[in-house]
């Protein structure tokens, strides 16, 4: 039984292609059932996000399975297979395992370390479990992938730092205020980045939002959006002391807030810290504000530097993460191969025993003066020969083969002795501990 991966991602396909082959999350039953209806495909999971569409499947015939799944992708989406194939990648064996582990650990993401992908795979697995298209192999495999992702997350700093300006602002605010739930954000002016940052602050639990704008109507409109309070621009310095975090992005040609303006504000705040984030170009807030006691001023350039440093750190941590993935692949592969060992040994013994019995019966049938004692001895002799012959291969397989490549031995034995394996060794499932 082989695990294969067929798919495309942001690395191989532009968004125009990706969106054409994406699967709607509301109707996953249809494609999943179609997949497991493909001959040779026994289990399947579809992962479909805005950055990747991938099918993880279990198949007996690697090449055939891959070809049929490619065809399925093209047919299902009415997309020409020739075009699609240019963007598709396929993996099997160790590479398939590595690929899925890396995807789950967010090592293959557009922003390495972003946390969403693990949840998306879990959802995808949820569908497959719900529609019963994933079985013992993929169940185990996906759970292993989740545990690898968790290990990477806890043992490396791959996801521990912000890689967007908005998140960097939230993280800095936490380093000043610790708890944001009783803090108020004030937006001065409007702008995409400003609003995005305000949204991040709201998602991180700030208590309230105040909005001010030279055009009061715009302030009111934006305030409604954030369920906040609009403040007339003239009242800015009357209200500023109520804000802990100030996001500023006006189109003003000069600075609108200077250090002197804060004397009164800080007095009214009883010196409680303030965090200014100046997103405007040219600047809204005089750099001297950063020198006021308990006031911290960051410009968009400062935040971008934070982000760049964090990205650098993530790249370094990714190396450690790859190391963890490698270790886990080794372990998982060992287990996967051990799955096939017992049935192979059983089938091999059955094969030998079958030959022995047939030949023994033939001999006994034509032997008139064979005593029961003699027959017993013949039984014993043939058994002994068979056991002696089977001992070395059996113990080698049980030990995991030479160099840990049990799969090669299993495949060779099956081909050499024409072994047909029915059911997988379900008993061995308990051996792989997560």
């Amino acid at each position: 039984m082989n695990i294969i991966v067929v798919g495309l991602s942001h690395k191989t396909a532009p968004v125009q292609i990706r969106e054409k082959v994406a699967f709607a999350p509301t109707q996953m039953d249809k494609p999943l059932h179609q997949l497991v209806a493909i001959p040779d495909v026994t289990e399947a999971i579809i992962v479909s996000t805005c950055n990747r569409v991938e099918i993880y499947a279990c198949t007996r015939d690697i090449a055939g399975g891959m070809a049929r799944i490619k065809r399925f992708l093209a047919d299902y989406h009415n997309f020409p297979l020739e075009t699609l194939e240019q963007h598709l990648y396929t993996h099997h064996g160790e590479e398939a395992i590595r690929h899925v582990f890396r995807v789950a650990a967010s090592l293959d993401s557009m922003v390495v370390g972003e946390p969403q992908i693990l949840g998306q795979i879990k959802t995808a697995y949820g569908y497959a479990a719900e529609f019963r298209t994933s079985g013992i192999i993929l169940n185990r495999f996906l759970h292993k992938a989740f545990s690898v992702a968790k290990r990477v997350r806890t043992e490396t700093k791959i996801a521990s730092s912000a890689v967007s300006v908005a998140f960097a602002a939230v993280e800095l605010a936490r380093k000043i205020f610790n708890d944001l739930t009783d803090k108020t954000v004030m937006l001065i002016g409007a702008g995409e980045m400003c609003e995005l940052a305000a949204k991040h602050f709201l998602n991180n639990g700030v208590r309230g939002v105040m909005v001010t704008n030279r055009t009061f109507e715009r302030a009111v409109k934006l305030a409604e959006e954030f369920d906040g309070k609009a403040v007339p621009f003239e009242d800015l310095f009357d209200q500023l002391h109520k804000a802990d975090i100030i996001l500023s992005s006006t189109g003003a040609p000069h600075c609108i807030i200077g250090p002197r303006d804060l004397d009164d504000v800080m007095r009214r705040r009883k010196l409680k810290p303030m965090f200014f984030i100046d997103i405007a170009v040219p600047r809204d807030i005089d750099p001297g504000v950063n020198d006021v006691e308990n006031v911290y001023l960051y410009t968009v350039d400062d935040l971008q530097e934070v982000v760049a440093a964090n990205l650098q750190q993530r790249a370094e941590e990714a190396g450690k993460a790859e190391e963890i993935v490698n270790q886990e692949i080794g372990q998982y592969f060992k287990w996967l191969s051990s799955l096939e060992v017992t049935p192979t040994i059983v089938a091999l013994r059955a094969r030998f025993d079958e030959v022995r019995r047939t030949e023994l019966e033939k001999t006994v049938a034509g032997w008139k003066d064979l005593t029961p004692e003699g027959q017993k001895r013949l039984e014993a002799l043939t058994n002994a020969i068979m056991n002696k012959l089977l001992h070395p291969p059996t113990s080698l397989l049980k030990q995991g083969g030479q160099g840990g490549r049990t799969d090669l031995y299993v495949d060779a034995l099956r081909a050499l002795f024409d072994l047909n394996l029915g059911v997988q060794g379900g008993e061995e499932l308990g051996e792989l501990e997560e």
Partner: protein, 271 residues
Amino acid sequence: MNALMFYVTLLLYFAATVCYLVYLVKPQPATGTASRWLITAGFVLHATFTLVRYIQDGHTPITNLHESLSFFSLSVVGVFIFFERKFKIFILGSFITPLALILLLVSTLFPMGITPLNPALKSKWLVVHTVVAFVGYASFAVAFGAAVMYLIQERFLKRKKLGGLFQRLPSLNTLDDINYRCLTLGFPLLTIAIISGAIWAETAWGTYWSWDPKETWSLITWFVYAALLHGRLTTGWRGRKAAILSIVGFLVMLFTFLGVNLLMPGLHSYK
């Protein structure tokens, strides 16, 4: 036996300090766990040592400089463990354990033998007055540690140097909060120590207050912290100002404790 316990404590504090400092530079879970165990083990042994000494002495073992420094060190570790558990701020240890280690090291510079009790100190007030004073001192020491951390972290934020140490230090607000909590613990204790001292002085020397250098400097220390607390509660002396003042307060307190004993002869100069 007793001396052995003392030196093992010293060794444990030393090991804990090394681990805490290593953790500051290169944080690894194993180092963290090790430092926590070492300081806890050190504290337990140190407390046992102090208790044994109490039984051997037959009086509270805070009557000479060696004993006082050792008890100060013990209190610092105790107050630190309390705040560390409460606030879950592990990294505080990297700033507090070196202080406890230094205090214990300095205590070895003074004669360690058991001295016969000065008759003037033979009173049940001895235990109240000294223990309360030293636990108060220890709270100020932890406040000092948090203040140093605050100033470092504030500098990082102002200069926008957001590297590794910045990531490991807690938020400004948390540090300011610890500072405040330490003051609200230390200040009442210092007040009780001064009042109990005055009452004791009345029974021992016949006067509540004799402007002995220790008394004067205790009062100065008290005023520094009173000003800090007052400023905090009324005009919001928080953050940087509070941090600087609690560092000043700690230095004045150290002088009250050590400087007065060593440099200014007076009623309190027990060596």
